[in-house]
């Protein structure tokens, strides 16, 4: 193919302002007459615009290909896409949650959890507010499970078996001692019951003192020892501990 004459070198020099004044004047004079030179200058001036348009078109083709790929893959769920695109954020949130869980377990050690559990367990000994099956087996250690078993048996009025469990596993917590006493009381083994209740009621650090005093008073009444029962009931009323109302009623009855 034959190449026609072109003036792009001169045009470049003209635009870069490297022509001498004489050459420049000649170029301008020629430009006014020469149609082909005008076309060449127009091409030279619009080159960047052409290149930008071409690059945009190329990018658009690439975009359309990517869109077609998306269509081919099928629509993903929004949340899955979010997870994939925002992996860092998801990992960061998960890490923060894990740190909080770790701090919680660190500040709230196992012994404290068990203590809280026991307190919850015997907050009112006559009503068991939860059942072992409803709780996670990991939370409770074996003694606590046995204690719950014993309490279940107590509620079913199977006192002897409840006592067997309590004695076989040598359960020595305040809750276990209280339950032992209550079972002995129900079986009318008053001396054994009194021993259990006394050990609790004489221990000021125990949080079962109020309950132990109430049951001790009941045991004394059952053994016709009202003189020992009355001060206990008065203490319950004074301390406003568990069975306060019942204690008042019982004391009034005893006094009459």
């Amino acid at each position: 193919m034959s190449t026609p004459h072109d003036d792009f070198d001169v045009i470049a020099a003209y635009r870069e302002d490297t022509l001498t004044p004489k050459e420049k004047a000649a170029f301008v004079a020629r430009l006014a007459k020469d149609n082909q030179l005008q076309i060449q200058l127009d091409l030279y001036d619009n080159l960047t615009d052409f290149l930008v348009t071409e690059e945009i078109a190329r990018t658009k083709t690439l975009t359309n290909t990517l869109i077609a790929q998306k269509h081919a893959k099928g629509k993903k769920r929004v949340w899955l896409t979010y997870l994939l695109n925002y992996k860092k954020r998801v990992v960061a949130v998960a890490a923060i949650i894990l740190v909080f869980i770790g701090l919680f377990w660190w500040y709230y050690p196992a012994s404290q959890r068990n203590a809280d559990l026991a307190q919850h367990y015997f907050s009112a000994s006559q009503t068991l507010s939860y059942h072992p099956n409803t709780m996670s087996s990991n939370v409770l250690d074996i003694n606590e499970k046995k204690l719950l078993e014993a309490h279940e048996l107590y509620e079913k009025k199977v006192y002897v078996e409840a006592l067997n469990i309590l004695k076989n596993y040598s359960l020595t917590t305040d809750a276990a001692i209280l339950l032992t006493g209550v079972c002995e009381y129900e079986l009318q083994n008053y001396s054994a019951a009194i021993t259990s209740f006394l050990s609790l009621s004489n221990n000021p650090n125990s949080d079962r003192v109020g309950l132990a005093r109430w049951y001790l008073a009941l045991t004394y009444i059952a053994t016709n020892n009202t003189t020992a029962a009355i001060p206990l009931l008065q203490t319950i009323i004074k301390d406003k501990s568990a069975y306060y109302e019942q204690a008042r009623a019982l004391l009034a009855k005893l006094k009459t």
């Binding site: 190449t3 990018t59 658009k60």
Partner: protein
Amino acid sequence: MDTKKFTHFFNECYDYCIVQKRLVQFVGNQVDAEEIFAEAISKFWVKSAAGAIKHTANLKGLLLVIAKRLWIDRRRNKKEAMQYAIDWGEVDDSFLKIAALYTSTDPLVHKEETVAAEQWQEKRAIAFSTAFAQLDDKCKRLLNARHVYKISAAVVAKKMGFNSARVVTTLTSRCKKKLLRAVYNLL
């Protein structure tokens, strides 16, 4: 163009605008939304890489706004074109002669000029595309880097493994003339 970077950016923006229906709801249907999205992201990518758009935060939000504006512009242009368009083929010459009595420019001449200008623009664009496609890869990359993305000659030299910035400048100048000559020959 860094295709990997672009694909990552595309994925983020596509989810934001199309999957999460932000642009689809605005435009009204998925097909048009994807078309306008492709146009917006292409323009945005090229122009922002060239430094024409100074914005670094929430790029996908900015892209969504650009796509919406493009859509509004397109609708407006379409409406105006429908209102004022003249199909020269359907206009009888006798009407144009009558109209010439009331206008300073000859409608017949104006008609020919308009058509010729449109044809020239189209021919020029085709010639340019053809000539650019015929260029070798090195020239294409150099011209894009220097003229589209406005990367300095020193950086281009480092990226493309040339000895110096002067070499890049000389090669770019040669490629530019090569391209212009090819376009000129095609016209």
